[in-house]
């Protein structure tokens, strides 16, 4: 699975720490998500999408073999 969190973060000019604080998680979580080491829960995904004013499907994409 790919995600565009880093891109969205850049568009909205946020650091990982900013994003972490806004959704109420640790910076490690944001880091792990962007490094594709962690798949966030539905709740967290929805929160991120709402924050960036995009749809969840724009943030996360399934890869060919999944």
């Amino acid at each position: 699975m790919k995600n565009t969190i880093k891109v969205q973060r850049a568009i909205h000019n946020m650091t990982q720490q900013d994003l972490a604080e806004k959704i109420g998680v640790s910076r490690q979580t944001i880091n792990a998500m962007e490094a594709n080491k962690y798949v966030p829960s539905t709740l967290l995904s929805l929160k991120i999408a709402r924050l960036f004013h995009v749809k969840v499907e724009e943030l996360f994409q399934l890869e060919e073999d999944e």
């Binding site: 998680v25 640790s26 910076r27 490690q28 880091n31 998500m33 490094a35 829960s41 967290l44």
Partner: protein, 143 residues
């Protein structure tokens, strides 16, 4: 999903404070036959069993386990879903690695020295968990 088996973050320091002297005491007991004399209870039934009871080793082991559990089960400053998942994963890892090491030791160590293996094995699950969990967290922080 919140993890309610965890204790506040400040207990981590307490854990270390209990752990380190307990480990030292345990090492002194095992390798230098050191005992605290005030912890000896005289044996009233010398006919059956010729030694006095001493509780230095009990104190050392209980202290070490208590210290390790306090460290292992203390919350991080921010507990969120990722840390929860990492915690679970690290526990699985620790159990697996522990038993692999135990099996290897079982086939490599024999007779009296195996007693040492058993003693260490009592502590290695929390130790491996603590190392793995904090290693991954530190690696994440560094990025």
């Amino acid at each position: 999903m919140s993890n309610s088996l965890l204790i506040p973050n400040r207990y981590k320091r307490l854990g270390f404070i209990i752990l380190v002297p307990s480990l030292i005491l345990g090492a002194m007991y095992m390798f230098a036959d050191f005992q605290f004399d005030f912890l000896t209870i005289p044996n009233e039934n010398k006919k059956l069993f010729d030694l006095d009871f001493n509780f230095t080793d009990e104190i050392a082991l209980t202290g070490a386990i208590a210290g390790l559990l306090l460290i292992a089960f203390s919350r991080e400053k921010t507990e969120d879903e990722y840390i929860n998942t990492l915690r679970l994963e690290s526990l699985q890892w620790a159990v697996l690695i522990n038993y692999v090491l135990l099996v290897i030791a079982t086939w490599v160590v024999y007779d009296n020295p195996y007693w040492h293996v058993l003693i260490y094995n009592m502590l290695t699950i929390p130790i491996i968990f603590i190392i793995r969990f904090h290693y991954v967290l530190a690696k994440n922080k560094a990025q």
